[in-house]
């Protein structure tokens, strides 16, 4: 009886402590600390709760000017559209700035690998189709990469005049 009581109290205290610390993380999320904690965890927590807008690294003007500066592509695509090179570049920026979380099993067991994502934008839809084409190391990388890619900002997709499909490689490596 005593054991159960103490166990319950200890467990509740432990849960309470964890809640306090998790709360502190959310409160401290204004810190301008560009570490993984704020980049990944806070980002994903806030996006999941949909209380805070997704971070905006997409700049429509820059995207448009980038498209126009691509001589060869601009001949093939309408003036006001976004070309695949520019989309690639912006997806790459997202992949760099908001990378997937390293799966805990892989990190603790020094497993490395990569996932090759194929992201297809269909005209008229702002939600791209994301699939993993290839992977190495562990299947857990696929889930992590897809989860991260689903959080990226694709609001520019509404401006596309034709279907675009790009490949984005996510490398999971331990230095």
């Amino acid at each position: 009886m005593q054991f159960k009581l103490i166990f319950t109290i200890s467990f509740l205290l432990s849960v309470l402590t964890h809640l306090i610390v998790l709360g502190s993380i959310v409160l401290f999320s204004n810190w301008e600390d560009k570490d993984i904690l704020t980049q990944n965890m806070i980002f994903r927590m806030t996006v999941a709760s949909e209380k805070i807008a997704k971070p905006k690294i997409y700049d429509e003007d820059k995207l448009m000017s980038s498209s126009k500066s691509n001589g060869s592509n601009s001949n093939q695509e309408p003036n006001n559209s976004i070309d695949s090179t520019a989309v690639k570049k912006y997806i790459s920026e997202f992949a760099k700035n908001y990378p997937p979380a390293y799966p805990v099993f892989c990190r603790r067991n020094s497993i490395e690998g990569y996932v090759l994502l194929k992201i297809t934008f269909v005209v008229g839809s702002s939600n791209p189709i994301i699939v993993a084409e290839k992977y190495s190391g562990s299947k857990l990388f696929i889930n992590a990469a897809l989860k991260a890619a689903e959080q990226w900002d694709y609001s520019f997709a509404g401006n596309l005049s034709r279907n675009i499909s790009i490949s984005q490689k996510i490398i999971f490596s331990l230095n």
């Binding site: 200890s10 964890h18 965890m41 805990v104 099993f105 490596s173 230095n175």
Partner: protein, 659 residues
């Protein structure tokens, strides 16, 4: 003494720095070597890429699996940063020796002292840094497994086998802040094999000229989400009498049998990409004939000790900087001493104990360099004596504690750790312990280390409740420890260092000299230990290491030396490939004279000895290798415990098969 040592440390620091400056060019070489490792890493990343030029992004984390230890800070830490003295016995080092029994492996380190009642299955004690045998916390993957049935809460190291182990980490200095009770002088943590173990089956069998045999089987299987490692070993010897032959004529002696079974299993499974579960279980059964050393050689009595332990962890780790761990464990220990037919002989006893433990902790990275660890644990122990002469019925005691630690790590510059723990025991009241440790790393490849900490050990159920000798008013034993050290790498191949360990008891449980009732006796033990070590690396795998320890461990009131610890101990190790397929491993251990009892009786003085063991291995193919090893090459006649003989020279032949 402390002043003298401080001066000595300062001199060594200056000298080593001068040497380091003279080897600046070597240091530059080291850096360029590191760069090439990074290049290799880059190449590895490139190798992961497909031939087409595609956009790619990498998720990088700083993990160096070969140099990571977990015990010193309860988190993965680069061994270079660790601020307390630590000895690591890697899987490779254990395999090289060909021996997996813990006492034999740990005895190779000069700062650890082993005393065993005779052969491999005999009751075995270890004095970490010269401290009493019950002053170290013994753990498997961070779970404490100290023997509940031992009156003073020590551990019988004959029950611990290192087959299937990734590495053993021995940390000196009180570690109660991180690991709770028992870590008065330090911690011995057995880190078991995980995903890094190669897939397949490994079988080892060996046989000696004394008909001793040892069989080991390991099976490992890993998938993309999990792994499972199973290890089984069996040892049998019936080669000699543990009773000291000098005390008997030949007719009175009989050969004593030791039979030991060990099982170690570990598995891990990723429930999601952020949640990992791990489970480990360990079983050991030690069935030996009882000898009372110099007093009598019993022919029909035996001692059967069994330990079963199971532990499980759930780790929630959404990022490298945040981790939430919950772990539970259950341990059952039994010790039965009786005649072969189950009746009681001259010595008897039946002891059973169980321990339940639950801990939850969380580590959180704050900024780039700072990590905090907080947690709470609860444990409950019960113990009963099963024989008809039982002096107490089943009794239990519970305790709980909360702890926190802050780790500041600036890679290759400094590491600072500050922590505290509040502990409450059902009977012995509350205790607060603290720990502070600092290491500074200089560009000259010099590392300065220092720590101060306190430790506690709750009284055992036996000490509290035994009807004749127990005392329910006992408080926890308490210690203060301080460590200091310097490490110096000279070029790529030499490593030199020294460490100082100081320990004193503030509160100690002793047995009253006239009534034998347990009582608190303040602090009566003081220990100073100085260790010097050097290592020469032929390459990554081949090495020569030499370690010397000076020990001054004494009782303050009588100024007598603590029993069974030598003043001087040397441990050396050599591993060298002779050709592409043959290798040689040699160990040399020297122990100076020491006393066997508290009163330092001259008649019970144990002689000094030189112990040489060697092993030669030939790899026939990747699958099959054979080896020959010799234990006690010089056929030294010595004792670690008065009256208990140890085996003489023994020649082993073994085969190792992998598939």
């Amino acid at each position: 003494m402390i002043k003298k040592f401080t001066v000595l440390l300062a001199i060594i620091f200056i000298v080593t720095n001068v040497i380091a400056q003279e080897n600046v060019s070597d240091s530059v070489d080291t850096e360029s070597s590191d760069s090439s490792v990074e290049q290799n890493e880059t190449n590895k990343s490139d190798a992961l890429s497909s031939p087409e030029k595609e956009n790619s992004s990498s998720t990088s984390q700083d993990v160096e699996s070969s140099d990571i230890v977990v015990t010193a800070s309860k988190m993965e830490t680069d061994i270079k940063s660790v601020a307390v003295p630590i000895s690591v016995f890697s899987n490779e080092r254990i395999n090289n020796s060909g021996v997996a029994t813990s006492s034999e492996v740990l005895a190779g380190d000069s700062s650890l002292y082993v005393a065993k009642n005779g052969g491999i299955g005999g009751l075995s004690s270890l004095f970490l840094g010269g401290a009493p045998s019950n002053a170290a916390s013994v753990m498997i993957d961070g779970f404490r497994i100290n023997d509940i049935t031992q009156p003073s809460g020590g551990f019988n190291y004959s029950l611990l086998n290192f087959f299937g182990v990734k590495q053993v980490e021995v940390v000196k200095g009180a570690q109660s802040t991180l690991y709770g009770t028992d870590a008065l002088s330090g911690v011995i943590n057995v880190v078991t094999n995980d995903y890094s173990e190669e897939d397949g089956v490994k079988i080892i069998g060996e046989y000696s000229n004394e008909k001793t045999h040892d069989e080991r089987v390991a099976v490992s299987e890993k998938g993309e989400r999990g792994y499972l490692n199973l290890n089984f070993s069996h040892y049998y010897s019936n080669a000699y009498s543990k009773a000291d032959s000098q005390k008997y004529s030949g007719d009175e002696l009989e050969n004593d049998s030791d039979r030991i079974y060990n099982f170690l299993g570990k598995g891990g499974f990723a429930l999601t990409d952020t949640i990992l579960t791990e489970a480990v279980c360990y079983y050991s059964k030690n069935d030996i004939e009882v000898d009372e050393g110099a007093y009598q050689d019993y022919s029909d009595q035996k001692n059967i000790s069994e330990m079963s332990f199971a532990g499980a962890k759930i780790i929630f780790e959404p990022t490298e900087k945040f981790s939430l761990n919950t772990k539970v464990s259950y341990t059952v220990v039994s010790r039965i001493i009786d005649n072969d037919d189950g009746s009681y002989g001259a010595y008897y006893g039946e002891f059973y104990g169980t321990k339940k433990f639950v801990e939850s902790n969380m580590s959180l990275g704050l900024g780039k360099f700072n990590k905090i660890l907080i947690g709470a644990d609860f444990s409950s122990e019960d113990f009963e004596s099963g024989d008809s002469y039982s002096k107490f019925n089943k009794k239990d005691v519970y305790s709980y504690s909360a702890f926190g630690s802050n780790n500041l790590e600036i890679k290759d510059v400094l590491y600072f750790q500050l922590g505290g723990r509040y502990y409450k025991n059902e009977l012995s009241g509350s205790t607060f312990t603290y720990q502070a440790a600092l290491s500074l790393q200089f560009p000259s490849n010099t590392v300065l280390k220092g720590s101060v900490s306190t430790g506690y050990k709750a009284p055992t159920i036996y000490q509290l409740y035994d009807k004749t000798y127990g005392n329910e008013k006992l408080d926890s034993e308490k210690t203060f420890t301080a460590t200091a050290g310097i490490e110096q790498a000279i070029g790529k191949k030499f490593q030199l260092g020294n460490e100082y360990f100081y320990m004193k008891y503030d509160d100690m449980i002793v047995s009253n000299s006239s009534t034998y009732v347990f009582e608190m006796a303040g602090g009566n033990v003081k220990i100073h230990q100085v260790t010097f070590y050097g290592k020469y690396l032929y390459n990554k795998k081949e090495y020569l290491s030499v370690k010397y320890s000076y020990l001054n461990a004494e009782y303050k009131d009588t100024e007598k030396k603590l029993e069974r610890r030598p003043k001087h101990k040397v441990g050396t190790e050599l591993f060298k490939k002779l050709t592409g397929s043959t290798s040689l491993y040699v160990t040399y251990i020297y122990n100076s004279k020491r006393y066997d009892d508290k009163d330092n009786t001259d008649s019970k003085k144990l002689c000094s000895y030189h112990l040489v063991n060697l092993k030669g291995q030939y790899e026939y193919s990747e699958m099959i290798s054979g080896y020959v090893r010799v234990e006690n090459l010089l056929n030294e006649k010595y004792q670690e415990v008065y009256g208990y003989a140890v085996p003489g020279t023994e020649l082993f032949g073994g085969v190792e098969v992998k598939f």
